[in-house]
Symmetry: C2
Subunit: 161 residues, 2 copies
Amino acid sequence: MQGHFYRRNRGSGWWQGQFKGCGYRFTFPRRLILDVLSSSSMHLSAEDVYLEVHKKYPGVGLATVYRTLELLVQMGVVSKSDFGDGRARYEMNKGPEGQRHHHHLVCSNCGLVIDYADFIDEEAKLLKKVERGLSEKYKFEINSHLMQFYGLCEKCKGKKD
Amino acid sequence: MQGHFYRRNRGSGWWQGQFKGCGYRFTFPRRLILDVLSSSSMHLSAEDVYLEVHKKYPGVGLATVYRTLELLVQMGVVSKSDFGDGRARYEMNKGPEGQRHHHHLVCSNCGLVIDYADFIDEEAKLLKKVERGLSEKYKFEINSHLMQFYGLCEKCKGKKD
DNA sequence: ATATCTGCAAAGACTTTGCATGAGA
DNA sequence: TCTCATGCAAAGTCTTTGCAGATAT
């Protein structure tokens, strides 16, 4: 690195285990990125994460954020979605506290995204059933899913169009 | 246009009606693009569509393809999805023959995408139910949805990883 | 007739990559 | 110590936009 000195990373615990388990190192920038993702309930773009991390520690570069996010997606820790605005969104999928999966409601007009988990229980049953059927028929091993509804939010519904 | 002369478009029928109904014109490039989308059962990227259209009629530009696809998405005729390879995919959603909606099964390893419609009936019931609940609770007017399962296809499942 | 569309090329936006150097175990 | 990870900046990709001139109705 060119002139950046991180304080030694002696973080430990759950995350370090996750990384080590996957054969990766739990570095300081990675820890910062996880902190940002953990403490936000929003759907962050790579740049959002970068700006946030940058606020706390300006030494971290955007490329590292992209690389780390990709890594986390592969590890299944973070899920990546696309709400149609041309940039990927990332959000924590699981953490020390367990899963926090939810689905999305996207306004096609203003881009508002609402997370909901209220109907997950009802959906879960069917999803599991469908997953079983699909796995069998297509010999697929299903690990995750993405479910989004598109439409108009309360505000946009008003203003016709 | 700079030096391109299309043959006059006297196409008519269902599509023309769809366009006129939305206040748009049914032009020759648009017809070509629809032809390509209709005759392919694949998930085409904008460039795929462009290349195909270009084969039949080199005068059509890529920008027009993008503009038309976006228009079709807005009209609800085409659906746009993202399988994680950084480019948008388009596929016909409805046509003169009616709806042909389906969901996706995406291999996270090799990128294979399988369409399935087998379980749609079962899913439809729950989706409708969830839609009603969501509409009510969040005052959303739901128009469409996207549902994708991610995992490993038969081939990739074999080679561990 | 005229508001809408189009091709071309250039600009924009997001993401990835190469390389020398620093850090984790 | 010996890989793996990072910052910076440059390059890559996909997509959008401006504009003069063609087109649908």
